[in-house]
Amino acid sequence: MEILLIIISAIFVNNIVLAQFLGICPFLGVSNKLSTASGMSLAVCFVITLATVVTYLINKFLLVPFGLTFLQTIAFILVIAALVQTVEIVLKKVSPSLYQALGIFLPLITTNCAVLGVAINVVTKEFTFGGTAHLMGLGEATIYAFATSLGYGLAMILFAGIREHLAMNEVPKAFRGLPIALISVGIMALAFLGFSGIV
């Protein structure tokens, strides 16, 4: 039950883009086409889940025992950068087709604040899912990270669909490009606000 709550809350109620404002730059940047949007979502999903597990373990077994938690920011960003690079190298060797599909999106993910955001959130913030407020265990953290990245994918793909339609419409000149995109996201966020009663 608690796991179900984590998943629903991470995908719909606290959607990472529409409620938490993380990962907006790539969200606006690559949502022009449905195909690139799904490629990016896949890459983000992969990296967020992996990065959260790795940073969680590093925090628990390295930073906390040695009293180095003030180094969290530096350590995490380095781990994420190294991880993205490793994933890229491994993927190129092991599964060239997936590597091709993810293409340029992988290196871009290092600067996606959603990755660092989720990693920091998981180790510092106390969550209440049905029970009392507590820091997440590794299992919960992994599920939370995966569900959050699914939420990212959902928002991204929905928005790409809207944007493909927008491109065919006559938009007033000053609204063209980003302004109309932002206003559409706003309306989408308004719709997602409707989920807030669920959890």
Binding site: L18, A19, Q20, F21, L22, G23, I24, C25, L28, F70, L71, Q72, T73, I74, I77, L78, A81, T111, N112, C113, L116, G117, I120, N121, K125, A174, F175, L178, P179, I180, A181, L182, I183, V185, G186, I187, A189, L190, F192, L193
Partner: protein
């Protein structure tokens, strides 16, 4: 480029929010009120100026292949300094801005300025560039914050001029996107004529 225009370009011509469209996450997330926007802007400016200075100094000796990781470490160091300073002196502000203070590391404005300006210019110019872009960012965030605070809670800088509630949606997530969208339209109309 004259020293003065280094500072003023961040306001209109290279405004980080409305023209370059960088650093959108803190722009949207922390502008629930004018004060929050202002504080976030100042925090980012602090890191931007210091990282610009250091990067302009070390750029000539950093090998080209590893320059991005090196810059990120420099930026992350200053972010950590800022985190510790804020925890010590302004714990309340640190708590409101929350996650978005450590996330200054991945704010594209800072790495963007390092790449586009600080690594090919002198220390003095880079510091001025940091100040200029920082002021532009702070002003943009404050303006968005003011609009959202007026609409969302009927107040300016915490001074309430209506009784009762405002339109709550503007303090919440959807309002951020919509206000930024319309402000961008306004900016396009005024600045790009």
């Amino acid at each position: 480029m004259s020293k003065f225009s280094l500072i003023t370009k961040g306001l209109l011509k290279e405004n980080p929010t409305f023209v370059l469209v960088l650093g959108m996450c803190p722009t949207l997330a922390t502008t629930t009120s004018a004060m929050n926007g202002l504080e976030m802007g100042l925090a980012t400016m602090f890191v931007l100026i210091l990282s610009n200075i250091v990067i302009s100094l070390i750029a000539p000796v950093v090998p080209d292949k590893v320059h991005i990781p090196v810059y990120i470490v420099v930026i992350a160091t200053f972010v950590t300094v800022l985190q510790l300073l804020m925890q010590a002196f302004t714990p309340a502000v640190y708590k409101t801005l929350g996650l978005f203070i450590p996330l200054i590391v991945v704010n594209c404005i800072i790495l963007g300025r390092a790449e586009a300006f600080a690594n090919k210019n002198g220390v003095w110019d880079s510091a001025l560039d940091g100040i200029g872009i920082g002021i532009g960012f702070t002003l943009s965030l404050t303006v968005i914050g003011i609009v959202r605070e007026i609409l969302g809670s009927g107040a300016i800088f915490g001074w309430k001029f209506i009784t009762g509630d405002g339109m709550l949606a503007f303090v919440m997530a959807p309002g951020a996107f919509i206000v930024l969208g319309y402000l961008m339209v306004l900016f396009n109309k005024i600045a790009k004529k």
